[in-house]
Amino acid sequence: MPFSSLVCAGIETTINKLVSLDKNSASLLDTLDGKVVHIKLNEYKEPLYFYIASRRIDVFSNYEGDVSVTLTLGIDTLIALKNKQSISELIKQDKLIIDGDIKVLQQFSDLLTTLDIDWAEIISPYTGDVLAHRISQQAKKINGAIQTQGQSAKVHFGDYIKHEAKLTISPLEFLHFCDQIESLTTRVDQLSAAITTLEN
């Protein structure tokens, strides 16, 4: 339907633009030439087919030829795929189903996650080299600041709900609780054994 065509068109334009900005992507695109990656998202009923040919990626919502690899996953998993170590973990948790050539999947995710785009180079024709350098430095700084802020906010919030608001417990308290349950289980077992002997 036209809505899915719109989605495909949007994805296709964005991906191709990003990939074309990265000078190193050409060799990866060459190795992927003729491959088709099929992605089924749990949140979106139309499948997506990424067809790679002559250094371009086409996105279709229907493709009837042979597919190199099929992925079934949720959007959150798609983001987690960025971290390559987590792939086997995700498969174990049944969050990710892979059918086909895993090598193609790895190359495809390499293509999209290792984008090395020199933003300063792209804006320099409009702003001049000095300004472009300043802007990209500032952007890097701001990005770094946001990440540190995010990290510390996470820690502060965790401390707050643990120590101030007492909404959660600390790991030690949890372990203690587990121990208590364990001893309770033992006592219940002893008791039930005692009852059985009394009955007999």
């Binding site: 339907m1 065509s5 719109l6 495909c8 371009r56 086409d58 279709f60 030829g65």
Partner: protein, 251 residues
């Protein structure tokens, strides 16, 4: 519909001699060829790209196949098909109008599409190909300009391989009354003036609006495809029926 006794057919709202229609249509397209792409984007607000995309999704085309893009105009579909069929496949861009063919060829060459595309000036009513040649034939926004549509459909049926399919992307009848009114207003009042300003040619765009109204609606075209021998014919309404995609198989 063509009228055999008097040998006249419609050209927009006018009646013209059957022999004249092809040359009159040719005049229109000679006149618009240079600005064709710009006007398409403007007139449809870019939506024609989505219609064509949908057609490609329905095509089921695969690497190594042979595709005929009839009335292919400036080669939008050909460019995509050429990438999908790959080195082993082949795409033939056919148009009755040499101006359009030239514009299409230049555009595709600029895009770097060369190796597997061929250009043929051909009339859809008498396709110059042997029987059972193509896996897919598409005709996007071209069928309504063909003088004898039934003959064209039979000719397409002949050149298709068994198992091959035909896709007809064409303006059709909006299913919603309100949309239909707005669409009429747009195409009869705004469209010719847009044509005047951008392509300096209001007559051609008046013809466009009229020829759309004279084109058979969804069900009629489906019936025509059935008569020509196509099986499992079905159609999808796009953008509320302003455009319809018909698909039929040859078995």
């Amino acid at each position: 519909m063509s009228n055999n006794e008097n040998q006249t057919t419609h050209f927009g709202y006018e009646q013209v001699d059957v022999k004249e229609k092809a040359s009159k249509v040719a005049e229109v397209f000679h006149s618009v060829a240079a600005k064709y792409d710009v006007m398409n984007d403007l007139m449809s607000f870019g939506v024609h790209r989505l219609w064509k995309r949908f057609a490609i999704d329905c095509s089921g085309v695969r690497p190594g196949q042979k595709v005929l893009d009839l009335a292919g105009g400036t080669g939008d579909l050909t460019a995509k098909f050429s990438r999908i069929v790959g080195k082993e496949g082949q795409v033939i861009l056919a148009d009755i109008n040499d101006s359009m063919l030239k514009v299409g060829r230049d555009k595709l060459r600029d895009l770097g599409v060369v190796s597997n595309v061929e250009y043929v000036q051909a009339n859809a009513q008498a396709l110059p190909f042997p029987e059972n040649t193509f896996d897919l034939v598409t005709i996007a926004f071209g069928l309504r300009n063909v003088t004898d549509k039934d003959e064209a459909l039979r000719s397409i049926y002949r050149v298709l391989k068994p198992g091959g399919r035909l896709l007809v992307l064409e303006f059709s009848k909006p299913s919603n009354e309100l949309l239909s009114k707005a669409y009429d207003m747009y195409s009869f009042n705004l469209l010719p003036s847009m044509g005047k300003i951008i392509a300096n040619d209001s007559e051609s765009y008046k013809y466009l609006a009229e020829s759309i109204r004279m084109h058979p609606d969804q069900e009629t075209l489906k019936g025509m495809m059935d008569t020509a021998g196509f099986e499992q014919t079905q159609y999808y309404n796009l953008t509320g029926g302003i455009v319809a995609l018909h698909r039929g198989y040859k078995f």
